[in-house]
């Protein structure tokens, strides 16, 4: 994997998210966010919303069909339902991130792992992906209606010819990371509970850490086809999505 110190940009902040826990925050365009699988086997369920208009949100279908892909990896963009790009995947030591299997919910966690409540287990209590997502969404006035098909960073699920799915344990190792270069001011919501198809018999979701950096050039973030978006923009659909994104910020983007 790439050494974190090889990252060429300016460090801004970092945040540790223990396995099972959840986080949300604003990630501004011009920021590159590194998601790290701290101990291996983590799952980071993520949704993106336009910070200015939260009706605009990550769209699994548009992301997949615009890039003719079932998996997400370096060179792919995460598309909104309004023809724009939230972020481009600019580095990836994992190679495969799922975006079709959704979230674990309380019933699934109970059936698979049993019950571990706060009163006995304190912060080691069992949390579900959906419940973590709803708590974070609630902080921004969002809720169940805003839960759409999400990305499950670090998790790999393949389909055979008849469409039957296989979850691949061990897809992501300790220290693996994925970098997201943001082209939009984004509300990001993250839940680090187990992937819904993870067959592990014990509830041991992996921790995720976030590190935010200023992208290589603040100005280049406004410019389609230049770093850090150049690789993504080599897919014509992504170039058009980035062009639409640039229009959103045209009046104060300098280079727009």
């Amino acid at each position: 994997m790439n050494q974190p110190n090889a990252f060429p940009n300016t460090f801004i902040w970092e945040q540790d998210i223990p396995g099972g826990c959840h986080w949300s925050g604003i990630v501004r365009r011009g920021t590159t966010l590194r998601l790290v699988d701290v101990a291996g086997g983590a799952n980071a369920a993520v949704l993106f919303f336009n910070q200015e208009e939260k009706l605009e949100r990550y769209n699994m279908a548009d992301t997949l069909k615009c890039q003719h892909t079932f998996r997400l990896t370096k060179g792919h963009a995460c598309h909104s339902d309004m023809g724009r790009v939230f972020c481009c995947i600019t580095a990836d030591t994992v190679g495969w991130h799922d975006t079709v299997c959704g979230l674990s919910d309380a019933e699934l966690i109970r059936r698979k792992y049993g019950v571990a409540r706060y009163r006995e287990h304190r912060n080691q209590m069992f949390r579900s992906g959906l419940d973590g997502m709803l708590i974070e969404l609630g902080k921004w006035g969002l809720g169940m209606r805003d839960v759409v098909s999400n990305i499950n960073f670090f998790s790999k699920v393949t389909a055979n010819a008849s469409g039957e799915l296989t979850f691949h344990p061990g897809n992501s190792k300790a220290g693996d990371h994925v970098d997201l270069a943001f082209a939009m001011d984004t509300l990001m919501v993250l839940s680090a509970a187990p992937h819904p198809l993870d067959p592990a018999p014990a509830y041991r979701p992996g921790a995720v850490s976030l590190a935010a950096y200023a992208s290589r050039s603040a100005h280049s973030a406004h410019s389609v086809g230049s770093a850090p978006f150049a690789e993504c923009a080599s897919i014509p659909e992504n170039a058009r999505g980035l062009e639409n994104t640039q229009r959103l910020y045209g009046c104060h983007g300098g280079e727009a």
């Binding site: 548009d62 069909k65 339902d81 299997c101 209606r145 839960v147 389909a159 010819a161 058009r240």
Partner: protein
């Protein structure tokens, strides 16, 4: 929905094994309507009723969503449907799950063999990304959905909006995924007269956009009408 690039002929082997015909007679249907090419269609289905969509001229994508009739916050969920059955494609026997993990409908007959729930709906904005920035004014499935949400009394009464539009089903669309993670839009599964039939396991609102996509070689750039039928649950009495 919509495909792009040159459509490929797909080996139909893997999709023909699940073909199941229905015994229901269209003459006994309580609803028998035609939805013209490129238009929306909304209907309330009661638990126990059977709903059939007929692809009258072949290879027409029918973008479809379902909502719990008593609480539209509960709605069809592509991810729940995929993960609960560990399967990407829909056909006879597939259950259509809600975002609360409940079965909304079960597919009971299917003469097509495979339906998509990954490809979503086409929209003015995604058309600009997929086909060209100048495509923005063209009619789209999301425009159909939004028109129905604004005008149809069934949707209007429930206060539904764009917020209530998640990933949908594309009946009659074939979007195969390869083992190495590729995704394609291919031709060759549906044909004139093919249909899919499903039984409502709860009272649901059906919201359809009969896809108006004109940039899509899969339908020969020619969106076509569909026929929609509903049967009441048989009361169990037989007279023969």
């Amino acid at each position: 929905m919509s495909a792009q690039n040159s459509p490929k002929r797909n080996s139909a082997e893997s999709v023909t094994e699940s073909l199941v015909e229905s015994k229901l007679d269209p003459d006994t249907a309580v609803v028998d309507e035609i939805c013209a090419a490129g238009e929306p269609w909304v209907k309330l289905l009661m638990q126990g009723q059977t709903f059939r969509i007929v692809d009258l001229e072949g290879n027409q994508a029918v973008d479809t969503l379902f909502y719990n009739a008593t609480d539209s916050m509960e709605r069809y969920s592509a991810t729940d449907t995929i993960r609960c059955q560990k399967k990407l494609y829909l056909t006879t026997g597939s259950k259509l799950y809600s975002n609360l993990g409940n079965v909304m409908l079960t597919i009971t007959a299917d003469t097509c063999g495979r339906h998509d729930t990954l490809g979503g709906a086409c929209a003015a904005e995604s058309n600009t990304v997929r086909y060209g920035l100048e495509k923005f004014p063209m009619h789209s499935c999301r425009d159909n959905f939004l028109h129905a949400l604004a005008h149809d009394p069934i949707c209007e009464r429930r206060g539904m909006s764009k917020r209530d539009l998640p990933s949908n089903i594309n009946f009659f669309m074939n979007v195969p995924v390869s083992e190495d993670g590729g995704l394609d839009f291919v031709d060759g599964v549906s044909a004139p007269g093919k249909y899919v039939e499903m039984k409502a396991e709860m009272d649901v609102v059906v919201l359809i956009s009969n896809c108006p996509q004109l940039n899509n070689p899969c339908n020969a750039y020619n969106p076509t009408p569909i026929r929609l039928l509903v049967w009441d649950e048989p009361n169990g009495m037989t007279f023969d």
